[in-house]
């Protein structure tokens, strides 16, 4: 195929412990380390491997978000993507809107394969890939743990609740990636220097046809209710007594 489009999202780094803002309007992002959504990083790694294997010519990455998302796109370019597109938009965006905006990019770029993470680790929605697949009227293979490309089709192993499912899908298609698919490469310093020279186009969200309004209103964001503090027991005897008291053992 000619081109793979990989969608990446800027999120709070997965190692950061989340803090909810005192006014309950969201979580604290100021001064917090941001990264590429780890599932998207796996998607990009897979796309690069497909290209290195000779099954694709170009890997283009796209993101929607604030201007700072350029940092994550530069990281993606340093990993080996050829070109990047940022749809610049401030504020929260629902997956349906994201997918509509991405569908405009798909129309322009006409990729043979679209890849992204199975979900973003911030809103955990797990929707964008599937919505985009339906909007483009193409097949999807979500939660992929193995991908192989053959000419006009792909065979994908999916991690579903019942086990490992294998689907065959015609290209173009959307594949969303799960953790076990691969281990993304580390970026080396010379690659970061090279990435600075690569093309990164910025489009203002207002330039697209997509309407960025949403019918979902976030009322508040709160910390999860804490579990009541537990007790320590000294041996199996005491444990069995404690479980019997709770009626959990007969």
């Amino acid at each position: 195929m000619e081109k793979i489009l990989v969608c990446i999202k800027r999120v709070i780094d997965y190692n950061v412990k989340i803090r909810v803002k005192p006014d309950e309007s969201g979580v604290v992002t100021e001064g917090v380390k941001m990264s590429i959504n780890p599932f998207d990083e796996i998607a990009l790694e897979e796309a690069l491997r497909i290209k290195e294997n000779g099954d694709a010519v170009e890997v283009v990455i796209v993101s929607i978000g604030p201007d700072d998302s350029q940092q994550q796109l530069r990281t993606g370019l340093a990993m080996g993507a050829d070109r990047a597109i940022l749809i610049k938009h401030d504020g929260e965006i629902e997956p349906l809107t994201v997918a509509k905006a991405l569908s405009e990019i798909v129309e322009d770029e006409n990729p043979g394969l679209i890849m992204m993470g199975k979900q973003a680790i911030d809103d955990d929605s797990s929707q964008t890939g599937q919505i985009l697949a339906q909007l483009c009227d193409i097949p999807q293979a979500t939660f992929a743990s193995k991908v192989s490309i053959q000419e006009e089709k792909a065979t994908v192993v999916r991690e579903i609740d019942q086990g490992l499912e294998t689907l065959e899908i015609d290209l173009p298609a959307i594949i969303t990636t799960d953790l076990r698919l691969n281990e993304p490469r580390y970026v080396k310093l010379p690659d970061i220097m090279k990435a600075k020279k690569k093309v990164l186009d910025v489009i203002e969200s207002g330039e697209l046809k997509t309407d960025f309004s949403s019918s979902i209103e976030v009322i508040n964001v709160t910390p999860p209710p804490p579990r009541e503090s537990g007790v320590m027991v000294n041996d199996v005897e005491e444990l069995v007594v404690a479980l019997k008291e709770k009626g959990l053992l007969s």
Binding site: A99, I121, S126, T128, G163, E165, T166, S215, G230, L239
Partner: protein
């Protein structure tokens, strides 16, 4: 009255408990609940008629539904749902794969992982792997499309006899671009992780695939299911479908044993709703003790045989 359509999840000829749990969530919104069952015969649909709180079970039998493929099911669900105000699916890999395609066809925003119904249009859902809870409101007049976090809702009773309505396949285009090849499942005699009232999970501390045998023996004494942390799966001790956690299965058993599991955030996200959490770890500083209801600092290779023999 507000009309709700629940999309049934079934596998291997059985309606899964996720369907009943989704109906439970629906029952907190309205009394008018129908289930849609897409299958290749109506036998599985008749099982759904016993689920309490359900008015009608709509059954569409078509060979296209021999195996669930979202791109085939989504246009059918979208067509049938025109009569309904709400469409709810379980937030399993089945529901997560299918619901967004319905969102695209109907042009309605989807709510993922409903964990509670505050008001008919106000829901709570976990974000950041359950480290924060978002309360959201769906605008009036809009169709509500959501997936239900099944760990947050109990299974309903089975004493109903809802109407079974054989429904005609709507005339929609059935795409041929997606072909099911095979599924590989680990067959086990033990109860399913998401259904079991007792779950025993092992972590990296278990040390090897062979050592998991200790957990299986204890599980069989208790009628429990066996799970694992991501570390144990990544180490190759057990297959991935045993993984409990944000990136595996999210479960809510009455009793949960975390054995040799340190308690990474991603694992805890999968067990937050468990009734009682028992942590067994030889490291007294392991973070799992912070969320455990009962903790015991012990070597699991001594602890498990002792507990197993106590249960004789």
């Amino acid at each position: 009255m507000t009309k709700i359509l629940v999309i049934a999840e079934h596998f291997d000829g059985e309606i899964l408990s996720a369907t009943s749990k989704t109906v439970n969530c629906a029952s907190q919104i309205s009394e008018s609940i129908d289930i849609l069952v897409l299958g290749d015969d109506s036998a599985v649909a008749s099982q759904a008629t016993t689920i309490d709180a359900v008015s009608n079970v709509l059954s569409i039998s078509n060979e296209a539904f021999g195996y669930p493929v979202s791109s085939i099911m989504a246009p059918v669900v979208a067509e049938i749902s025109s009569e309904y105000d709400y469409i709810l699916l379980p937030s399993s890999t089945f529901g997560k794969d299918l619901a967004p395609r319905i969102s695209a066809i109907l042009d309605v925003n989807q709510v993922t992982d409903i964990m509670s119904v505050e008001e008919p249009r106000i829901f709570k859902r976990p974000i950041y792997a359950g480290n924060a809870i978002q309360t959201i409101k769906i605008a009036e007049g809009k169709k509500v499309l959501g997936t239900v976090r099944t760990a947050s809702f109990k299974e309903l009773g089975n004493s109903n006899s809802a109407n079974l309505i054989e429904t005609e396949m709507p005339s929609v285009n059935i795409p041929s671009h997606t072909r099911f090849i095979k599924i590989e499942s680990e067959k086990t005699e033990r109860p399913d992780l998401q259904v079991a009232s007792i779950v025993i999970s092992g972590g990296r501390g278990v040390g090897s695939a062979e050592n998991f045998e200790l957990l299986y023996q204890l599980a069989d004494k208790l009628g429990a299911s066996v799970g694992a942390s991501r570390a144990a799966v990544d180490a190759g001790f057990v297959p991935n479908d045993m993984q409990v956690g944000q990136t595996g299965k999210i479960i809510a058993p009455d009793l949960y044993f975390a054995i040799g599991i340190s308690g990474a955030i991603q694992h805890i996200a999968g067990i937050k709703d468990a009734g009682t959490i028992v942590a067994v770890n030889k490291d007294a500083d392991a973070p799992i003790f912070e969320i455990a209801d009962i903790g015991i600092v012990a070597d699991l290779f001594e602890f498990i045989p002792q507990l197993t023999s106590k249960l004789d």
